[in-house]
Point group: C2
Chain length 177, copies 2
């Protein structure tokens, strides 16, 4: 097995499944167990840092809130600037925002208007890609500012939900289910 | 000036003030500007990693959600396990939780019940110490499990609000206002 495949197997064994969370019928993949194993967390960040999507970016946009964990570690590791995409009411100053539909209701994500200034190419990072609405909303926010998105990186992709089809730029996931 | 003082001055100049956020009468200190300067972010994480509170801990407990940024980077830097204290509805599995009073209403923070297993000494990290209710609630959660809290580390402390008086263990803040 390649070192990449060994890492993926280790990660798969470390993730924990929670049936019916956050609601009935959904099998939740908990990535927090990775964080309790610092060596594995470090290997994961190193692996992600080699992705072209990340290497080609000038800054990292991390999605509220588990995306912050992987985005921040990657930012420190690569010395690339980190920008946060947050839910309403969390960011001060002038904001740009995008509202997207969910199965029930809708969600909104915001960026500080001047947070993209000084950079042109952004990678987006989150823990999990499910239906893809959140990541696609952040991608649109960046594209609407006439900036480039090098792609989306997630730790876990739930392939059945076809979230990557909502995303215009390339998608790279470490673990696929 | 010592290198520590030079860092503090640089950080103070980088923080941005937002009057009346999140509500009228509050001067919000935005730490996100630090993240756009990777060298400064890296220096900050190195500085925090030298604190006795951090060195004496076996694991880091980061508070939802800006605490995740500094906790995650510190976890990667020091190869110490990271545990998240989150708002209700965000963590799967069996939880322990603590509800505390705010000026208006109340807040609850949760830990996964088995997240503290295997470690005895925890440092708590957050971006900002204001009235201190959140950090004190997390401290109590840990102490109630018969575990030790080495202390609380924050990037910014608003000294007028005397938040550190609510905390039983030592507190170390990088920037004091």
């Amino acid at each position: 097995m390649s070192s990449e495949n060994i890492l993926i197997e280790k990660l798969k064994h470390t993730l924990r499944d929670y049936p019916d969370f956050p609601k009935k019928g959904i099998l939740f993949k908990d990535v927090l167990t990775i964080l309790k194993n610092p060596e594995l967390f470090s290997e994961l960040i190193k692996e992600i840092s080699n992705y072209e999507i990340v290497r080609n970016s000038e800054a990292i946009v991390a999605i509220d809130a588990r995306g912050f964990i992987f985005g921040s570690a990657l930012s420190l590791f690569l010395k690339k600037p980190l920008i946060l995409a947050r839910k309403p009411g969390k960011l001060p100053g002038e904001l740009i925002s995008n509202t997207y539909d969910l199965e029930y209701g809708s969600n909104t994500l915001c960026l500080q208007k001047d947070s993209l200034e000084g950079f042109n190419k952004f990678c987006i990072i989150d823990d999990l890609l499910a239906t893809g609405g959140t990541a696609a909303a952040v991608e649109d926010l960046i594209l609407n500012q006439s900036k480039t998105v090098t792609g989306l990186v997630v730790v876990v992709e739930l392939q059945d939900l076809e979230g990557r089809r909502k995303f215009k730029s390339p998608v790279n996931s470490v673990i696929k289910f």
